[in-house]
């Protein structure tokens, strides 16, 4: 008797992405079930972020399909935006909103009931309580990265997408991030992360996709190996 497989949160089939009609990497195909995580690895410019953007509906794919919970991805649908939380490398802030108010905006916009409590808890977890009432532009780049991560976690989600979340984070916060992502999986969420960090990869990913001319699905161990200098 076969074991029951968890339902697929994300299904990517023969996805080809690129700019002005030219693919930047080989076609990607993978399935990400609930409670699992998948990492995208590859050198700079290999197409990891482009793949993520296409999966999020922020870039029109050249070919192939992306399904979230069995439905073709269309970021114009409010239900899609409610299910997917993405932490990309954005660095834009409302000039009048403080750190806490940015998080509150996200929580309220997603219908979080006890928004203020959730915001306070995440500010504490990410070491931003002392900066709650300052503008994000007054933070260091690492603190702004922590704020973006907190914004991705302050709202409900079924799929969490992160683009190189380890960038600009100190060692302690990287460990916190790894713990948070594992907790995400245990709670039944799916995690898709593009990373260059072998430690984060080993700690979090169940499988990995090496993005390049021939994009392929590999084991985490193989991906960690591939991140060693000179391999990719």
């Amino acid at each position: 008797m076969s074991r029951a497989r968890p339902p697929a949160v994300l299904r990517v089939s023969k996805l080809s992405v690129g700019w002005t009609g030219r693919p930047v990497c080989g076609q990607a195909s993978f399935t990400l079930p609930a409670g699992r995580s998948l990492a995208l690895v590859g050198p700079n410019g290999s197409g990891k972020s482009t793949l993520l953007r296409a999966i999020l509906g922020l870039l029109e794919p050249l070919s192939g399909s992306v399904q979230l919970l069995g439905v073709e991805v269309d970021e114009r649908r409010a239900s899609f935006r409610a299910q997917v939380s993405a932490v990309l490398d954005d660095d834009a802030w409302f000039p009048a909103l403080t750190v806490a108010e940015h998080l509150y905006l996200v929580a309220r916009g997603h219908g979080v009931g006890d928004a203020q409590d959730e915001v306070d808890a995440l500010l504490d977890e990410f070491g931003l309580t002392g900066h709650a009432d300052v503008l994000p532009t007054a933070l260091s780049s690492g603190q702004r990265r922590r704020l973006l991560l907190a914004a991705g976690l302050v709202r409900p989600r079924s799929l969490l997408v992160l683009d190189e979340p380890e960038q600009r984070l100190d060692t302690a916060t990287r460990q916190l991030l790894a713990e948070r992502l594992n907790a995400e999986k245990e709670a039944g969420g799916a995690v898709l992360v593009a990373t260059h960090d072998p430690d984060l990869l080993a700690a979090v990913a169940d499988r990995a996709v090496i993005v390049g001319d021939e994009t392929r699905l590999v084991s985490t161990a193989e991906a960690v190996d591939a991140l060693r200098p000179g391999v990719l």
């Binding site: 922020l58 219908g111 039944g188």
Partner: protein
């Protein structure tokens, strides 16, 4: 939206709020942190209304004061002022649709793209104010242009009807661009706008060559304007209903363009504005140029690079070409022909062409890294950058003053003057390109045009000041209608001064330098 089941996240959930409440939250927080109040807002509105009013009245006054001369003898091809106005409206339509397409017209850039677009709230409600603003802007901009043209071309259609008709057409143009943004890519509106804009100089040439001389333009009846208005309103409602269908990627693209364009306006940089509206649609990949093989030293490297920047910018090439024909167009319009108008056309059109030739220098000012890598001093680098603008503007001046010479039936002295005067523009191009940005973080001066940083006028005057000095002899020749030999000598001296001044790397003002010299002399006496 009904609540969506999610696997992870806060347990306590409430319905997703309306988009309006999210906008109100942002506005309320902004108000809470703002230093100004309603009075400041009203004063800003007052200033805006006053400055637009003053600008319109000044333009109308200046146009009314222009002397009208007899048409030149022997001109077989000519058009009327009304004919030119029709061409101006064609250009306005192109500029409006093209700009609307480049700016979206609906967009969400910066913080709105990052924090608003991923929310599961009704996106249409978030975008509605932005869309309304752009549609209104299209109407107001068109009305301002129509007001100036309606008073400049008396007779024919009543000014009220012209202004109303053009304003409604402006609204309709932005609405059409918005609908194109929903259904296709913004490129369609951009191409349509560019096509109309490119058609304007062709239409002007056709009007002159075909001796098209209408007495009035836009004789559209009121019912026609009403019908167009009804179509525009219907289109606006359709656009509003479809706002939620615009993909985030298009909203982000156009939002980024709008943010860059706003930054260019704040820093009073017209070239940056051009880049904001043009460069994102430019090809991101280029073939390796064979011209780079000509590089054989730092000076040649700079010259080849400057020429390549210009050659790869069709917008600037078009700007140079079209402006070169402006003096000829003025000569072919009997209602406009006169020495003063001709001199004004020469200086204004030349200044626009000059700005186009300074593009590479402006980029070097903004990203000076490559220049610093060259084994040359700052002054030598600056002088090498005079070469391309000098050559291009000499050709431009040959065309512009050559047409004056033909009109005066004595082309040779005018061509000689063009050769001597042309390089002077390069001095203006460089001085304008290497000007510093206005200091918005220093003291601001309150004016009827709103808050202006101290020294903004001096910043804006860099470039035009060299033009005034360097082209003064040529302008006098255009006004006087002849080129005496002494004037050629004076022009050569003026050009030399303009080139020296324009390529100077001195950043202090004359007053600063005099004050410092005085201070140093005082110290020496002690």
């Amino acid at each position: 939206m009904s609540e969506v089941e999610c696997a992870v996240g806060p347990a306590e959930r409430t319905p997703v709020p309306a988009a309006r409440s999210m906008r109100r939250y942002n506005a309320a927080v902004a108000r809470k942190h703002a230093h100004g109040g309603v009075t400041a807002l009203l004063s800003d509105v007052y200033y805006s209304v006053v400055i637009v009013g003053i600008a319109v009245l000044m333009a109308i006054g200046a146009l009314g004061q222009l002397p009208v001369h007899e048409p030149p003898v022997g001109t077989s091809h000519a058009t009327s002022l009304a004919g030119l106005t029709a061409v101006a409206y064609l250009a306005l339509a192109g500029a409006l649709i093209g700009s609307a397409g480049r700016l979206g017209p609906v967009g969400a850039g910066g913080a709105e793209a990052t924090w608003w677009l991923p929310l599961p709230v009704d996106r249409r409600g978030l975008l509605r104010p932005n869309a309304l603003r752009m549609v209104a802007l299209g109407g107001v901009a068109s009305a301002v242009v129509a007001t100036v043209l309606a008073f400049a071309v008396p007779g024919g259609t009543s000014p009220g009807r012209s202004v109303a008709g053009v304003a409604v057409a402006g609204v309709a143009a932005v609405v059409v661009a918005g609908l194109l943004q929903v259904w296709t890519a913004a490129r369609v509106a951009v191409r349509l706008g560019d096509l109309l804009l490119a058609a304007a100089p062709v239409a002007a040439a056709a009007a002159v060559l075909g001796s098209w001389q209408p007495e009035s333009v836009l004789a559209v009846p009121w019912w026609g304007i009403g019908l167009l208005g009804a179509v525009a309103v219907g289109g606006a409602f359709a656009l509003d209903a479809l706002l939620g269908r615009i993909p985030a990627r298009r909203l982000r693209e156009s939002g980024a363009v709008a943010a860059q364009a706003t930054g260019a306006l704040v820093s009073l940089d017209t070239r940056e504005l051009g880049r904001a509206l043009g460069d994102r649609l430019a090809r991101q990949q280029r073939r390796r140029s064979l011209r780079m093989r000509l590089v054989g030293g730092p000076v040649r490297a700079l010259v080849v690079a400057d020429a390549l920047v210009l050659a790869r910018s069709p917008r600037h090439l078009g700007q140079i070409l079209v402006t070169a024909l402006v003096p000829a167009l003025v000569l072919a319009t009997p209602d406009l022909t006169g020495s003063v108008q001709l001199a004004l056309a020469f200086l204004v059109a030349g200044s626009f062409a000059m700005l186009a030739t300074g593009e590479a220098s402006r980029r070097a000012e903004m990203s000076p890294g490559v220049d610093r890598l060259l084994p040359m001093g700052a002054t030598a680098t600056r002088r090498a950058r005079l070469i391309v603008p000098g050559v291009v503007m000499t050709l431009w001046t040959l065309v512009a003053l050559g047409s004056v010479g033909l009109w005066r039936a004595d082309p040779l002295p005018w061509l000689a003057l063009a050769v001597l005067a042309g390089p002077a523009w390069a001095g203006g191009a460089l001085r304008s390109a290497f000007r510093p940005a206005p200091k918005w973080d220093s003291a601001l001066v309150s004016t009827p045009a709103g808050a202006v940083p101290l020294g903004a006028a001096a910043v804006l005057a860099r470039g035009p000041d060299v033009v005034v000095l360097g082209l003064l002899p040529a302008t006098i020749a255009v006004l006087a209608g002849s080129v005496p030999q002494t004037l050629l000598l004076v022009q050569a001296v003026a050009t030399a001064i303009a080139l020296r001044w324009g390529s100077s790397t001195e950043t202090r003002t004359l007053m600063d330098r005099l004050a410092e010299a005085q201070e140093a002399a005082g110290e020496a006496r002690k």
